[in-house]
């Protein structure tokens, strides 16, 4: 990777207002096969998008303008120059961050798509989790048969990727005769709780015998996956290479009544609360094994960017 150099902001600012694409022409007119492929991929069964006289899903707006494998048509010199400037300064990676679309009219098979786009803004240098870079916002006007069909504002981050130090491997579970059934359950996406044959009591974590009646006989029941946070801690220290502190470790009370220690995910570490409803998910943490984790449900769920 090239060393990153600062670009004078005036140099970037000068691109604002310049064309990003001029007289672009959609590679294909709006057509039923592309609509069908889109709907199949998205799992979208809306009848308005199917049948003899389909309309295109409005969110396909940008798809009709895409260059595909053979590249973009109508992309302007200014846009290429801006990218070359950013690439040359070390901001080689790109990620889309925002998409704002407004739909003016429906698109139907046969509509010929044309478009123009303008570089609306280039941000100052910003530091992000991915690395430092500049946000570039373009605004595209899409027309069908020469009439306005919609607008598409798109923001990307051109950034210099942060070199990540290789992460350590997550500690592996110690699997033995007494808990092998539990890990076999996890591999099959089933969270298994032991049930004592003697007294019927449920227990977790797995033990060879019942701590209530002493019976060594047991079978299992599968947890429904519903639970609530009974207690939790937020880990800040000590750091361990496989983990990215701060993160929340919860003691989750399952609907069946037993408790399990696991990560609470899908919510910022500082938004975890006692009593918060959570649901079991299985997450692959290494090539060959997964862990049962708990995703927060309801208010506050969502998590940090």
């Amino acid at each position: 990777m090239n060393a990153v150099r600062d670009i004078a902001y005036e140099e970037l600012k000068a691109f604002e207002g310049r064309a990003a694409a001029e007289a672009g022409l959609g590679k294909d007119p709006v057509n039923a096969p592309m609509i069908r492929h889109w709907c199949e991929a998205m799992g979208d069964t809306n009848p308005a998008y199917a049948g003899a006289d389909p309309v295109a899903p409005p969110t396909m707006l940008q798809a009709w303008t895409m260059g595909g494998l053979s590249g973009h048509q109508g992309r302007s010199e200014a846009y290429d120059d801006l990218f070359a400037l950013l690439d040359g300064a070390g901001y080689t990676a790109v990620v889309a961050t925002d998409c704002e679309q407004e739909y003016v009219r429906e698109l139907r098979p046969g509509d010929e798509i044309t478009f123009d786009a303008v570089i609306e803004s280039v941000s100052e240098r910003k530091t992000t989790k991915l690395g430092a870079g500049h946000f570039v916002t373009t605004r595209m006007d899409v027309r069908a048969g020469g009439e306005p069909a919609g607008t598409h504002r798109f923001r990307i981050l051109k950034y210099a990727p942060v070199r990540r130090t290789p992460k350590g491997e997550r500690p592996r579970p110690v699997i033995n005769r007494d808990n092998a059934g539990f890990w076999e359950g996890v591999a099959a996406h089933r969270l298994l709780i032991q049930r004592c044959d003697g007294c019927g009591g449920l227990r977790f974590p797995w033990l060879p015998g019942c701590n209530a009646c002493g019976s060594p006989e047991w079978d299992t029941v599968e947890a429904s996956g519903e639970g609530t946070v009974f207690s939790y801690v937020v880990m800040h220290h000590p750091p361990f290479p496989a983990f990215d502190p701060p993160y929340a470790v919860g003691l989750v009370e399952l609907a069946e009544g037993v408790r399990i220690v696991s990560n609470i995910i899908g919510v910022p570490h500082d938004k975890v609360r006692i009593g918060m409803p959570v649901r079991l998910v299985f997450q692959r943490v290494a090539e060959e094994w997964e862990l049962p984790l708990f995703r927060a449900l309801g208010d506050g769920a969502g998590g940090e960017v």
Partner: protein, 135 residues
């Protein structure tokens, strides 16, 4: 339809097939959306969903709920935590306001898509239900 109404959640399993099918259906051939080796070479742990697919799923979430007569007017989304294969994205939505006009009721719906590592997408969708329509 009224302000404050919560839409039922939609769980979307983020399969490798969905990521690749969505990228190709949207004509996005960036390698990070279909080639795990090249994605890793660029510092990503795996391939990840492209923004057009996320946009399509958000649109589907709204029209699934409001029905085929619903007209999407605006979809504005911001991406956060990437959607990697094996994760699940849970879409939830809340009606923020409803305006009644000659074309019908127009709702502004706030949408959130959370995955296992955080918030994948936050967005606002404006949708019109023709007068006399469903929901």
């Amino acid at each position: 339809m009224r302000a404050g109404e919560e839409l039922p959640v939609l769980e979307v399993p983020v399969t490798r097939t969905l990521i690749v099918a969505g990228a190709i259906a949207s004509r996005d051939y960036q390698d990070v959306h279909h080639d795990a080796e090249l994605a890793k070479a660029k510092g990503s742990p795996d391939i990840f969903m492209n923004i057009l697919t996320t946009n399509g799923l958000v649109g589907r979430y709204i029209t699934d709920h409001f029905g085929p007569t619903a007209n999407l007017r605006k979809v504005a989304i911001r991406l956060g935590a990437p959607n990697y294969p094996g994760d699940t994205m849970v879409l939830s939505g809340t009606v923020e306001k409803v305006d009644t006009g000659p074309e019908g009721d127009t709702a502004t719906v706030k949408v959130i898509g959370a995955n296992g590592i955080g918030r994948h997408v936050t967005g606002t969708v404006t949708v019109t239900l023709p007068a006399g329509g469903a929901a």
